[in-house]
């Protein structure tokens, strides 16, 4: 079952990409069908569960092993919902770009690799697949092959392989002492001295945080917004960056365990970096005038929220981080979709050019507005519930971070209001830049994903408890 689920998108992708098709419609239809099939298989897999299985064994603790727990289930479901919808969006979007076949191929392959990644059962496997994710998404980043995207791809590789090597260091150090398998509560590593344990943890946090765009290693993410929008939306707002947060959660809660780490200097460093990431992302987003890059910086900031929640090392912090992961994914993917829709329909990319487009592209900008409000954290929407949970978790943890954490969050919330409302409000309340311009909403293939995901976002905001319980209990 597991093998079929993984091979379906990978082999299917190769087929779609390499075989000659009679028409691009047929290729697109096939790609969507494969996506749906994969998502169906994933949901079956999640329901049935996956017994731990070792595929390859290099040394005692260094094995390629797969399994499933509540974390992987949550992440898998999130992807299973969003990937086919993005594929539908991409179908329309990629008409305007070259080399559709290659794109669909790598889009499908990346799905397969991400499924594998979610099911990793120990830190070594996680690291290997972490790099596989990098390599399989690389062709998507430099898809357009213009200088900007090439630069983005180079930056992506440098950070994801180079900086994530810190993570590998941790894997080696820990693996020589004790098991690397994921167990709830962690291993504690009693044979390691406190100093080594703390420094190893900091290395692991930074190394695996690279994909979560943690502060000094965040430059790649805004650059990567040069990629086609379906990539930016799905991979750089949901899959890849959440993989970073997912890994960090794994490292903290399932490998190290929180009991020895909590209150140590390692935790303080981790929290400091997370808080810096939050403020950094928000500040840079306010300064940025290119819509997609602004959204990318906002992603950096929001990933900081999740890292902060994860680094609190409490049950509630963990759950709040997961909740924000879901809420932010649902919100940000729509925002990117909208930016992409505007790009396709009008060719406009900058904040100032969005003025007055609301009346012309109502669906796009209604969803954009709602998601912008959610990103700000306005009550009945998803972003509010998750931020609320995060701040409560921070306050509950006590100490200096009970003040600093919420302060960082509120500061960034105000900045969020600035950088989202300066796009969303003029779209509705200011006369258009070019009055004769006849922009209109894109076709249903793009509108449907935006609407459905916005609906999910609102639902998640209204009943976050259901989601929260699912994330805690599994």
């Amino acid at each position: 079952m597991f093998i079929v689920t993984v091979l379906c998108p990978i082999l299917g992708g190769l087929f779609v990409g390499l075989c000659r098709m009679r028409s691009s419609r047929m290729r697109g239809g096939l790609a969507v069908a494969l996506m749906l099939l994969t998502s169906f298989l994933v949901s079956m897999l999640v329901r049935r569960g996956l017994p731990d299985c070792v595929v390859l064994s290099y040394a005692e603790h260094f094995t390629l092993a797969f399994g499933m727990d509540h974390r992987s289930q949550a992440f898998l479901i999130l992807m299973a919902v969003l990937w086919p919808l993005s594929m539908l969006y991409a179908l329309e979007y990629m008409h305007h770009e070259a080399r559709e076949a290659t794109f669909f191929m790598w889009y499908l392959i990346a799905y397969g690799v991400m499924i594998l990644f979610c099911c990793a059962q120990n830190l070594f496997t996680l690291y290997v697949l972490y790099e596989c994710v990098t390599l399989s998404t690389l062709p998507l980043v430099w898809h357009t092959k213009d200088p900007l995207s090439i630069a983005a791809a180079r930056s992506y590789v440098r950070y994801s392989i180079g900086c994530a090597a810190f993570g590998f260091v941790t894997v080696v150090i820990l693996g020589t002492h004790d098991s690397l398998a994921f167990v709830p509560g962690g291993h504690m590593y009693a044979s390691l001295s406190d100093r080594v344990l703390q420094s190893t943890f900091v290395l692991a946090f930074l190394g695996f945080g690279v994909k979560a765009a943690i502060f000094p290693f965040s430059r790649w993410l805004p650059k990567a917004s040069a990629a086609p929008t379906p990539v930016t939306a799905l991979l750089h707002a949901v899959a890849v960056v959440n993989a970073g947060v997912f890994s960090v959660q794994r490292v903290i809660y399932d490998v190290f365990g929180t009991d020895r780490l909590r209150g140590g200097w390692g935790q303080n460093i981790a929290l400091t970096f997370a808080a810096l990431t939050i403020v950094f992302g928000a500040v840079m987003a306010v300064r940025e005038h290119h819509v997609k890059r602004r959204l990318a910086y906002s992603t950096v900031s929001n990933l900081g929220y999740m890292l902060l929640g994860a680094a609190l090392m409490t049950v509630h912090g963990d759950a709040a981080a997961s909740l924000h992961m879901v809420a932010h994914s649902l919100t940000k993917i729509v925002l990117f979709f909208c930016a992409g829709a505007v790009l396709v329909q009008t060719g406009r990319t900058h904040v100032a050019d969005m003025r007055g487009l609301g009346r012309r592209m109502p669906w796009t900008f209604v969803t954009f507005f709602l998601c912008a409000l959610s990103l700000m954290g306005i009550p009945p929407l998803a972003g509010f519930s998750s931020k609320y949970a995060l701040i409560l978790a921070a306050i509950e943890s006590g100490g200096a971070w009970a003040v600093l954490g919420p302060a960082a969050l509120l500061l960034s919330a105000i900045l969020t209001a600035v950088y989202t409302m300066t796009v969303a409000v003029p779209a509705w309340f200011v006369a258009p830049v070019d009055p004769v311009d006849a922009a209109q909403d894109p076709s249903w293939k793009m509108v449907l994903p935006m609407t459905v995901i916005t609906g999910l976002m609102v639902a998640a905001g209204l009943c976050p408890d259901v989601l929260m319980n699912a994330l805690i209990a599994g």
Partner: protein, 725 residues
């Protein structure tokens, strides 16, 4: 339970329905809107009747929005739901005529209904979480009201409104978190239980910020005089009559439940209330735009209400007199502002002007409009026999009571004088409006104005205006009605008692009389002497002098002017102003500093610039390392190519291409006989390799950088293995 859900559900269904219908036909949308408002009003009346009988209804929606929403319908809440739905209904009656020539009507109605739902939810809330959820929805949904005209001034006002709303919301949220952390609950009952806890002052103050901003309390009132004049009149009426009261609602909850008896809190609130009261009145006196006068007057009246709340906090459980005053004045102010803003709306929809200079004389020969403004002015000025008098008297009585409690002469006696003085100025500016509109004549367009007599508004608008203004004398002449309102509110405010005030006793009438006297003097001396000039024989309002934004500036200028006159410097007004430019600009600079800080927040310019620079350089660290390596270790020799042509890659392309060609040849012979593959794979592969050569090279070089860093990591491992283990 059912009543509450219906009250909230009807606007929700209505907004979906009317927005959907608006695409078909605008008339259907308007009818749906009115029908919905009628239903809500009918339900509110039912709720109010239930509350009068002493029933309290609760409703919980567990799990919604995370912590569940809790509602309650008791005396005060039923009263305010009733008032809100009444005001919405009246403005709704007026809207079709008022908006007849407007654009974006569907947007207006949509957000109007969202605001209605949020406002009702807020007034029904039974814990601070619910209050906050609806408060935020309301704050943002009312943004389109202010921005409706989309002119530059409207957008700027709307921006200020949004900034203050978001800022206030965030601060309140922080206070809620702290409260939650300390009490473990946000229910109103829990707040009551926490009364007297010393560690609750900071959270309470933080929560107050957002609500005070919405109410328009000094120093967060900045949005108020900007937003009201630019919003459409029905919205202004609601902004002033209901939305500011949502802020007061929050302030009441925090002050009376959590902070009762806390002297410091009460005194700060009193000071802020007095400043707001006086500043609002002065701003109104010096304004020449009709709606701006009314807006500043709202601010001033909110000051009265705040003073009342402060006095109840100071008096504690004996504070039932000022609390009753607060409730009465809230009700009165809502109804008065409804009447006055609808009147202003009638003028605006005829003339599209609001400056007193342009509209003076418009009211001549229009009895209904005349009645509306006359009653509104009398009520607002606190003339005995009209509703405004009752609330003001009780609040005044509250100040006196506390001053008596302290027996000796104290600062509170000064407060009383300020109170009377502000009430006097209220009379002054209302007189100014009233005389300008109904007794003076327009120098050029008077005939045109008179021609509109009898056909300046339609029946629906007249009904709305009459039903709004009828309450002013009725409530004033039968104090029992308002006293009932105050009595049923005691469950909410938590302060019980029977006031037993003789409203029309000599001592109370004396206070009113003093105010009226001050008012008349203000009008005759200030308005007639300074704000109204005879220019070249024509009687003209002093709009020719461009008033600055701040009344304080005018006041200071007047003082400087006065001094100059005393010293006999000059006779001509403008010359005096020119004679003291330094003093003038200094005052203006100081006074507008705060305004500018709000308008151009440091947060939006300087902080991002500085922080952004620092962050960019720091996050560029990694790129810096790469650059360093590129210039040093990995420096490319210009002659050197990483992937020269005809290497193993091209050999591979050649071999693989030939194999594939052979395979294709075989296929063409067998399976694809009818549709042969005619691709030269050798050529295709080499061409593609050649295309990708440069890019592949780049990426490979990047990977090499990455691997170098990787090697650094490995070095760390080696060090670890050698040194530590």
């Amino acid at each position: 339970m059912h009543v509450i859900l219906w009250i909230l559900g009807i606007p929700l269904c209505g907004l979906v329905l009317s927005t959907a219908l608006s695409a078909k036909r605008e008339k259907w949308r308007d009818s749906t809107y009115l029908a919905e408002l009628l239903c809500v009003f009918a339900l509110a009346v039912c709720g109010f009747v239930q509350a009068l009988q002493g029933h309290t209804v609760y409703a919980d929606i567990p799990g919604l929005c995370g912590m569940g929403l809790h509602f309650c319908l008791d005396g005060f809440r039923a009263l305010y739901v009733l008032i809100a739905s009444f005001m919405w209904l009246m403005t709704g009656l007026m809207s079709p005529e008022y908006f007849a020539h407007y654009r974006n009507r569907t947007r207006y109605y949509l957000f109007n209904q969202i605001t209605l739902m949020a406002t009702l939810g807020l007034f029904l809330s039974d814990d601070l979480y619910t209050t906050f959820v609806f408060f935020e929805i309301m704050s943002l949904a009312s943004y389109p009201w202010v921005a409706h005209d989309e002119t530059e001034s409207a957008m700027s006002a709307a921006r200020t409104y949004l900034i203050i709303a978001v800022f206030g919301g965030m601060v309140t949220l922080m206070g809620l978190f702290m409260t939650w952390n300390r009490l473990g609950s946000l229910a109103f009952t829990a707040l009551q239980e926490a009364q007297g806890r010393t560690d609750m002052t900071v959270p309470a103050a933080l929560i107050m910020v957002g609500f005070a901003a919405k109410a328009g309390l000094f120093p967060l009132y900045v949005w108020l005089p900007q937003a009201h004049p630019v919003a459409p009149a029905p919205s202004s009426a609601l902004l002033s009559g209901v939305l500011t009261k949502t802020g007061v609602f929050g302030m009441l909850v925090i002050s009376l439940r959590l902070m009762l008896h806390v002297k410091a809190f009460g005194n700060v609130l009193l000071a802020l209330g007095l400043i707001t009261m006086l500043l609002g009145a002065l701003l109104a006196l010096f304004s020449s735009n009709l709606k701006r006068v009314l807006a500043c007057s709202s601010m001033s009246q909110i000051g009265y209400i705040t003073v009342g709340i402060a006095m109840s906090v100071l008096l504690g459980h004996e504070g039932h007199v000022p609390v009753s005053g607060v409730v009465m004045h809230m009700v009165n102010h809502s109804l008065l502002k409804l009447t006055l803003f609808m009147g202003a709306g009638v003028i605006y929809m005829n003339l599209h002007k609001l400056e007193l200079n342009d509209i003076r004389g418009f009211g001549r020969g229009k009895p209904l409009l005349h009645a509306a403004f006359l009653l509104g002015s009398l009520g607002l000025a606190g003339v005995p026999g009209f509703n405004g008098y009752l609330g003001k008297t009780l609040i005044h009585e509250g100040i006196l009571e506390y001053a008596h409690e302290l027996s000796a002469f104290s600062i509170y006696n000064v407060c009383e004088w300020i109170f009377l003085f502000a009430a006097g100025i209220t009379t002054g500016y209302m007189l100014k409006i009233y005389i300008a509109l109904f007794w003076q004549t327009h120098p050029k367009r008077q005939a045109e104005f008179d021609a509109k007599n009898g056909k300046y508004m339609n029946l629906q608008t007249s009904i709305a205006l009459v039903s709004a203004m009828a309450w002013i004398p009725v409530l004033g002449l039968f104090p029992g009605l308002l006293e009932t309102c105050a009595r049923i509110s005691q469950g909410f405010t938590g302060i019980a008692g029977v006031s037993g005030i003789a409203y029309f006793s000599l001592s109370n009438l004396k206070g009113g009389a003093i105010s009226l006297l001050i008012g008349t003097l203000t009008y005759l001396v200030v308005v007639r002497r300074y704000l109204y000039t005879k220019d070249r024989g024509y009687i003209a309002w002093s709009i020719a002098i461009r008033w600055q934004e701040w009344a304080v500036v005018h006041l200071a200028e007047r003082v400087i002017d006065g001094m100059c006159t005393v010293f006999g410097y000059a006779v001509e007004h403008d010359n005096i102003l020119d004679a003291v430019p330094a003093a003038k600009s200094a005052v203006r600079l100081g006074c507008t500093a705060f305004d500018e800080a709000i308008e151009n927040p440091v947060l939006m310019k300087a902080v991002p610039a500085a922080a952004g620079g620092a962050f960019t350089s720091l996050s560029g660290l990694m790129d810096g390392i790469v650059l360093f390596l590129k210039r040093g270790l990995f420096r490319r020799n210009s002659e050197h190519r990483l992937y020269p042509k005809h290497t193993v890659y091209y050999v591979f392309a050649f071999v693989a291409g030939h194999i594939m060609d052979a395979f294709a040849f075989l296929l063409n012979l067998t399976i694809y006989r009818h549709h042969p593959i005619d691709v030269d794979f050798t050529y295709v592969l080499s061409a593609r390799l050649s295309d990708n050569d440069t890019e592949l090279g780049r990426v490979t070089r990047s990977v090499s950088f990455a691997l170098f860093l990787f090697a650094l990591g490995m070095l760390l491992v080696l060090l670890y293995v050698l040194v530590i283990s």
